[in-house]
């Protein structure tokens, strides 16, 4: 009795307090996706659209939604979750359709507060989304809240509550990831600026540590492995057992969704940037065009050329959908020709020779002793895109961060310490960084190098004996 009363009081108090406090706190501010610097380098009209024609921001948000209302854009090679099914009987054409016969591959669970949403994936009705008022499992008939305008045909595929992975993914992402990786996956969360190295910015669509060959994107398993093992030597921790198995999958999908969103935005911008960036505008105005002429040009471009390009972004051999899907195929995965060469002193000696050889020249970056202090670490590099010198010396990655070569004496391997991990690092390089792909190297030679690299923490020069161990105190 008392317990119940106490609980009721607590609930009541909570309710009052929450409404009171959130009332003054929440006034119209939600998390949002931010547009990239690149988008912001475009002229206003290209960013926000002219007249009815959508600009970059709208083109992106139309397809991907906002954090509160994420879109499951079916073109994306992302597993959006939900229960798939199909139309089991085509409705009669004569009447306004308020009931639909459907069958689902999985169980349909209706929770009181949550509406059931059915999206048409194929057929004439696609991509319409209808809301189910009542679902009768025995009859397989759904009563809809509103009549449908376009009629589906028998066999059309549908997805029930599609995008549930996005919803869960976002919740998990906001709780575990966003304070470093940012709501948009732009590595601009509040904690990010204090971390060294900086967290990954997904929007390039580039992930460093993959098991796929040099040209391929990251496979699902690659992202998953990073979540499971963390990235040793950085602030990326292991998320097991914090995330359960299925939650890991969902986070992986959400991260891929953010990466695709970022890449889609980048591709749009790269179409527009040559003619419609702020710089281009200045140049064109300097060469005699007026602002309205440029904007008219833009209108035309947005209305016609860009529409065609967008189709190409997703499909086609280089389309986003294709490359992200292909990364998961066995062909994309690196498989050595031969098993690892036995880790013998001889193998390590060959490895050391290769490491120092002119052709491969690992020491140029990693240093002769493997301390990550080769001559390349002190040069001033040029930014490939802007062609200006970076302010700091050292190697830089595509995210414009200094990214010095690994100190191999520490025994910390960010991409994993299995021989295959090191093999992949050498064979495919580390994507987005100056660690190149040595894909023409014989696999046997790669194994020699792997054997050598793995021995560096214990014996920097094969045959010269181990490094002296620094003393550490032991308590009584």
């Amino acid at each position: 009795m008392l317990v119940q009363t106490q609980r009721q009081i607590a609930t009541l108090l909570t309710a009052v307090v929450v409404t009171a406090m959130s009332g003054c706190g929440q006034s119209g501010f939600d998390s949002h996706f931010v547009s990239s610097d690149k988008t912001e380098s475009l002229i206003k009209e290209a960013q926000n659209g002219v007249g009815d024609l959508p600009g970059v921001n709208e083109l992106v948000s139309d397809r991907f939604g906002t954090p509160q209302q994420l879109n499951a854009w079916m073109k994306l090679p992302v597993d959006f979750g939900g229960v798939s099914g199909s139309v089991s009987a085509a409705p009669e054409a004569s009447i306004a359709v308020e009931e639909l016969s459907l069958k689902f591959d999985g169980e349909v669970i209706q929770v009181d507060s949550e509406p059931l949403l059915v999206q048409f994936v194929t057929g004439a009705a696609a991509p319409a989304v209808v809301e189910i008022k009542r679902w009768s499992a025995e009859k397989g008939v759904a009563s809809l809240t509103a009549a449908m305008e376009t009629l589906p045909a028998e066999g059309d595929t549908v997805i029930l509550n599609g995008g549930s992975h996005l919803k869960t993914g976002r919740q998990l992402y906001m709780r575990h990831c966003s304070h470093c990786h940012g709501t948009s996956g732009d590595a601009a969360g509040p904690t990010a600026e204090y971390l060294n190295p900086r967290p990954r910015d997904y929007r390039h669509g580039v992930f460093k540590f993959t098991s796929t060959n040099a040209q391929s994107k990251a496979a699902r398993d690659d992202i998953r492995r990073v979540l499971q093992n963390g990235v040793p030597g950085t602030y990326m921790p292991s998320f097991v057992p914090m995330l359960k198995d299925n939650e890991l999958d969902i986070v992986v999908e959400y991260v891929r969704f953010l990466a695709l969103r970022g890449e889609f935005e980048r591709r749009l911008v790269s179409e527009l940037a040559p003619d419609y960036s702020k710089d281009a505008m200045a140049n064109r105005m300097a060469s005699g065009e007026t602002r309205s002429e440029v904007v008219n040009d833009l209108k035309e471009f947005l209305a016609e050329d860009l529409q065609d390009s967008i189709e190409g972004f997703m499909d086609g051999t280089n389309g986003l959908a294709t490359v992200w899907t292909n990364a998961n195929l066995p062909e994309a995965t690196i498989t050595p020709d031969a098993a690892r060469v036995p880790n013998s002193a001889e193998s390590r000696r060959i490895g050391r020779e290769l490491y120092l050889s002119k052709a491969i020249n690992c020491a140029d970056c990693h240093g002769i002793g493997g301390k990550g202090n080769g001559p390349q670490t002190t040069i001033f590099e040029k930014n490939v895109v802007t062609e200006t010198l970076y302010p700091e010396p050292g190697l830089h990655d595509v995210w414009d961060n200094v990214n010095q070569p690994r100190n191999l004496t520490l025994g910390i391997y960010r991409g994993g310490r299995r021989p295959i991990d090191l093999f992949c690092r050498i064979q495919a390089g580390i994507k987005g960084t100056r660690m190149p792909s040595f894909k023409n190297l014989k696999h046997e030679d790669i194994w020699h190098i792997v054997n050598y690299v793995l021995s560096i923490p214990f014996e920097p020069e094969p045959g010269k004996g181990p490094t002296p161990a620094p003393a550490a105190a032991t308590t009584p």
Binding site: A10, M21, C24, G25, V34, G189, T191, T475
Partner: protein, 616 residues
Amino acid sequence: MATVSPAIESHSDDHSHGNDHGHGHQQSFFYTYLWSTDHKMIGKQFLITTMIMMMVGGALALAVRWQLAFPWQNMPVLGPVFKLFLGEGGQISPEFYTMLFTMHASVMIFLVIIPILAGAFGNFLIPLQIGADDMAFPVLNALSYWFMWPAIACFGTSFFVGGATAGPAGGWTSYPLLSALQEAAPGSGAAQTFWLMGLTLVGVSSMMGSVNYMTTIINMRAPGMTLFRMPLTIWSMFITAILQAFALPVLTAAGFMLLTDRIMGTCFFVPAGIVVNNAAPTIGGGQPLLWQHLFWFYSHPAVYIMLLPAMGMVSDMLSCMSRKPVFGYKPMVYSMAAIAGLGFIVWGHHMFTSGMNPALGMTFMTSTMMIALPSAIKTFNWIGTIWGGNVKFNSVMLNCSGFVAMFIVGGLSGIFMAAVPVDIYFHDTYFIVAHFHYVLFGSTLFGVFAGITFWFPKMFGRLMNDTVAKWHFALTFIGFNGTFFPMHLLGISGMPRRYADPYLHPYLEHLLPMNQFITCSAILMGFAQFLLLGNFLYSMYRGEKCGRNPWGANGLEWSAPSPPGHGNFDVPPVCYRGPYEYSSPEAGALNQDFILQTEVPPDMSKIATAETAATA
């Protein structure tokens, strides 16, 4: 009869000097309200400053509670007012949470509890209760207040100097290496440096105060005010001042060592070869545990610095409101002295799981168990004081009873932690949080609330509204227990402290509803403090006017005008008896249940009995 101070001649000189001032000239606004060297004004300055800081610390606490009850949800005020975390929709970052509890503790301990007891009440009461016209070193006294402001400024700067969302985040204990290495956390950069400077400045302020209190209490007592006729408030202030004078230098030194570790690379606390956030490996040679020893060598006595004055004040008020002498005056004094003495050899109980030599764990356990003894004696004596009294159920009495009731809980829960094996489990869980809030808030702040109400008439010549004060007591008491009692249970459930999101751990998930209940109670408690502030401000100007002695109390301060003028007393007071002769036969001879310490003995034949009683 104890010795009358040989300096009695010079005392009377002082008084006439003081009186000259009082009647002489009007001081300008600047000298009256800002750079005042009058102990009463300095006391009031301290009181009002600390009350403002209390609201700041309370707001930080509510923010902490918000996150624990509604993890990662849009935090009120922060976004709309401070424009923080807009991109995340008001979801705070974990380092912001660590900043919140760090600064809550720092503000409450260093800017509220220590200065409100020693600074506000110590300053106001010491000269009045011992019959002096002012402190021994008035300018030093003013400096001790004005050193608080640079400290507040440093703490304030530390909120944003390292980045708007990265305030100091090492916890108030600031254990290295988290606090020693700039790269170790977002808040370990400039923010931590400013925090340490603030800490040092608070220390300087306290040190000036404690030197002053010791000198004043030893040298400036009125004729007849022997040591064992001093009110327990004065005893507690005296013991506190000694504690502070001996313990504080250690913290100041440790603070400087940490500062030099951070700024000059000295490595007192930093061992070799540590890589944090991929910065260069540390040079080393130091020991992180050294900081813990030095820090707790101050901070454990500091707990008593934060408690003893309240104990003394509550003894005074309980006796007055029960119309009955304090039960066992001398045991009270001795147990305070014992607490102070033992307080120096128990610091290690904060470090049972720290990896120090386990043999030390055993000695510290024994000494810690022993320190419970004087606390127990005091508790029994307080109850003995109320027992058989003629209790006035006003807000002062209620707050004092609240103090006793809460102190019992805080004391008893301490026994669990004093026992090393049990502490293995309880260390750094919410059980600890519950324990020290019962001691520091439950005891000290209820004592302070009582003290504010009790001495308000002496400060401003007006009474505070008792009904509002009772409401304030009731709401605070309910909110307090609703907040902190369940925390014992959280601790037993194994919920560690300083977790931004405990619910990531399945064994803690079911504690969310309890945390929400706690947060609601905390909000109730927080908002109840507006009653205190409102009552305080209103009564300052509109309260019922009162005479010199509205409570019928005995202390010397009640023989002075309300509020006392410059120099405090009309005539230099002479003390004839102990401070707690309520309902004594002597008082009965005057047909009242109190008799001022300055009251000339009404009937010569009765003096002998009264004195034996007072010194017994």
